[in-house]
């Protein structure tokens, strides 16, 4: 009696829901299609509408966008002396207004949490110090905002970039720490007219192969103060082959795109130099017992072992290698990932060779802030209670100062507001030559490689007190 009704009910309920779902799916598809069409259709109108406002500088809401034609047409019409005299840029990527009392917005996108924090955090901190040291740009404060995390991954980088580009006032982004994150973040950020300046990316794919071919992930508006991996792999190979005179070598990476790429670059270069690669293997970042991998390497009895990895795995390899039969006399080589004040004092690393960016900062000083390398190191330690745990922190400092210089060069004040030309920022950076930074002289090429391409190999003297001397104890330097 109650039975048929309840069956009917349940069936009707099922139907109703099915229909709702079906409708939703169809509607969602349509909306996806139409919504975007609307978007594209509206975009030009928006800019067109915004353009006059922007140039007359009346409406406080109008922050971005000035079509090039518009500026071109109106510029001669203005009789008064052009306030943007000397400012770089043609407005093709839009102009950002910073109202009086507001701050210029830039962002930091580094790997500040998790396992890679020891790499990204110093770069972020250096950027914080740089912004503080730099002070105001044309009388306007600079706001680094909430620091974002690239999580050292493509998806993390993309999501964080999405957050950054949502704020249309942002001029430039300092980051990322990891090349993998830049692959996904750079297109978004540069699309929005912002620039991305990294202190930590080294992957050739992001810039060029150094002989004029852009890498697959190259985008305009991306710069870096870090060097290109290809230099480093070649430098180390040359050092091992020529200076140490070895003919066999092996390499270990830890599954990170960076370390794998560098190890591969080394191996390729070493074979080009006529050496024999006896082993190429990998560990996992969490591994502690390295005896198996070292045994695997030992089977080929290499004269040198290159492991361009990070801590803590690097500690264990250096510690356990001498104990593995067949590796007793093998020379250990590492790269910038381990070239830092946490690793060098470890007793097992004495005598090891490290390739990396030239860290003989010595008398170098940043021309924008006037701060010398020593002062910077001191203020870093004072502020954060530990020495920088990554070789690229100074690159982060210079990346920040060149961004601020670029903003200064591409901006002008008018009616109490500061106007920044996005294209001008890029123009400044692409034209950057002979800038003296903490890391040395910076020259930007057409693909955004700004860092000094000088790679040095240092030998660790050992001991906590000798860290600075070890960094300066250059035994080989390489400049293409």
């Amino acid at each position: 009696m109650g039975l048929p009704r309840s069956i009917k009910n349940s069936r009707r309920k099922g139907r109703a829901f099915t229909v709702v779902i079906a409708l939703l799916s169809v509607f969602a598809l349509l909306a996806a299609g139409c919504g975007n069409d609307d978007d594209e259709a509206q975009a030009p109108e928006d800019t067109a509408a915004a353009a006059p406002e922007a140039t007359t500088a009346a409406a406080p809401e109008a922050t971005t966008a000035a079509a090039p034609e518009a500026t071109a047409e109106q510029a001669p019409a203005e009789p008064a002396p052009d306030p943007r005299e000397g400012a770089l840029g043609d407005g093709s990527l839009g102009v950002v207004e910073v109202e009086e009392g507001d701050a210029i917005q830039i962002r930091s996108l580094q790997s500040i949490t998790g396992d890679t924090a020891s790499f990204g955090l110093p770069i972020h901190r250096a950027a914080v110090l740089a912004v503080e040291d730099y002070g105001q740009v044309r009388g306007f404060d600079v706001d680094l905002g909430t620091s974002l995390d690239d999580l050292c991954s493509n998806d993390g980088g993309q999501a964080a970039a999405q957050i950054i580009v949502a704020d249309e006032d942002v001029i430039g982004v300092l980051g990322t720490s990891c090349s993998g994150a830049a692959v996904a973040a750079a297109p978004l950020i540069t699309d929005a007219g912002q620039v991305l300046i990294s202190g930590g990316n080294t992957s050739p794919a992001l810039t060029s192969d150094l002989v004029g071919n852009p890498g697959p992930n190259f985008v305009e508006g991306y710069y870096r103060t870090a060097h290109n991996d290809l230099y480093q792999g070649a430098a180390m190979a040359k050092f091992v082959r020529e200076d140490l005179g070895f003919s066999t070598a092996a390499a270990i990476h830890d599954g990170d795109p960076y370390t794998q790429g560098l190890a591969q670059a080394f191996v390729d270069a070493f074979e080009r130099e006529g050496g024999n690669v006896t082993g190429f293997s990998a560990v996992n970042k969490e591994d502690t017992d390295m005896v198996p991998v070292l045994t695997e390497i030992a089977a080929g009895s290499p004269e040198a072992l290159f492991f361009p990895i990070f801590q803590p795995a690097g500690d264990f390899i250096a510690d356990q290698a001498p104990g593995v039969s067949g590796l007793g006399d093998t020379v250990l080589l590492a790269a910038d990932g381990l070239l830092n004040a946490n690793y060098l004092p470890l007793p097992q690393t004495e005598g090891m060779y490290f390739s990396g960016p030239d860290q003989r900062f010595g008398q170098n000083a940043n021309e924008s802030t006037g701060k010398s390398a020593d002062e910077l190191t001191a203020s870093y330690e004072e502020r954060y209670g530990e020495p920088p745990s990554s070789a690229f922190w100074a690159h982060g400092y210079d990346a920040a100062t060149i961004l601020l210089d670029a903003i200064e060069a591409a901006s002008w004040t008018e009616d109490g507001s500061l106007w920044i030309d996005r294209q001008g920022v890029r123009d400044y950076l692409y034209a950057l030559r002979g800038y003296s930074g903490i890391i040395g002289t910076l020259n930007c090429d057409d693909f955004g490689d700004c860092g000094s391409s000088k790679i040095t190999v240092v030998q660790n003297l050992g001991g906590e007190e000798n860290v600075q001397e070890s960094l300066n104890n250059v035994v080989f330097s390489y400049e293409p």
């Binding site: 039975l3 309840s6 069956i7 349940s10 069936r11 099922g14 099915t18």
Partner: protein, 275 residues
């Protein structure tokens, strides 16, 4: 009772055995839980299995339903061996059981408990459900109808609002009933009831005893009952099998078994109170 009883008994004597265990042995380590047990159940028959604690009654059920593996011997159901089947395959061959300590799907509703037990008699797979096909809807309706029919077998106790209540809210007696309903829902030919009236008061016990008879008469199941309550055994059984230490020590109708000296000895011990 006597009329149908007698008729069934005659049928049982003459018909082919529905279930047959042939020299069935089960060892746990060195312990013989069942030893060379041979016994049979015929269609439409109600057989009681009795015996002191640890005699191997529940092990026999577990062996038939493939929850434990036979060490030797054979179990034949409708002429085919059950050895090597999974419990669910045994159930789909047509043997259903209840458990000594009632085991319901406590958080599913009463109705769902019965509906889910028709699983092996239904066919619709995931795609039917996803596409919401006609066949799927028809089958769902059938499942539900059958479930309600089975539940109404127990009078008003399990139907009405209670059908949609979770099984854990049921009283003890009703849980027992639901367990039987669930066994019925698998559409078996043979139902194994493990102490169906344990823990019940005399009124409930009497009622359930009647129910066992009706199960056979109205639904045509053959039934094997494990029971300690001799009153119930006397009431329902066509035949009684007595187990002790995994061996069959007596078989026959209630009167014969009850007076068998070996049975009395098994239950009461040889004077020294040994079990």
């Amino acid at each position: 009772m006597t009329e149908t009883h007698a008729a069934a008994a005659i049928a049982a004597e003459t018909g082919p055995p529905l279930l047959e265990t042939k020299a069935l042995s089960i060892d746990f380590g060195g312990l013989h839980a069942l030893n060379q047990l041979t016994f049979e159940v015929r269609e439409g028959e109600i057989v009681s299995v009795i015996g002191p604690n640890g005699a191997g009654k529940t092990t026999l059920f577990n062996a038939i339903t493939a929850t434990v593996e036979a060490s030797a011997g054979d179990i034949v159901f409708e002429g085919r061996s059950l050895l090597g089947l999974d419990p669910n395959q045994v159930t789909s061959r047509g043997i259903a059981r209840t458990f000594q300590n009632v085991r319901l799907f406590a958080n599913m509703s009463v109705l769902e408990n019965v509906m889910v037990s028709q699983h092996c008699r239904t066919k619709q797979h995931a795609f039917g459900a996803l596409l919401y096909t006609k066949a799927f809807r028809r089958e769902e309706a059938e499942i539900r109808q059958r479930a309600e029919k089975i539940l109404s077998f127990f009078g008003t106790r399990l139907v009405g609002y209670r059908m949609d209540q979770p099984a854990f809210t049921l009283s003890y007696a009703n849980r027992r009933r639901l367990e039987i309903a669930r066994a019925m829902a698998t559409q078996p030919k043979l139902i194994l009831l493990d102490e169906p009236v344990a823990g019940m008061n005399p009124v409930e016990s009497a009622e359930l005893t009647g129910l066992v008879g009706r199960l056979r008469d109205e639904w045509g199941f053959a039934i094997v009952v494990i029971e300690h309550d001799m009153g119930v055994v006397k009431e329902v059984s066509d035949r009684v099998v007595v187990l002790d230490h995994g061996e069959k020590i007596a078989e026959g109708d209630y009167a014969a078994v009850a007076s068998d000296p070996e049975v009395i000895e098994a239950y009461l011990g040889k004077g020294t109170g040994e079990k």
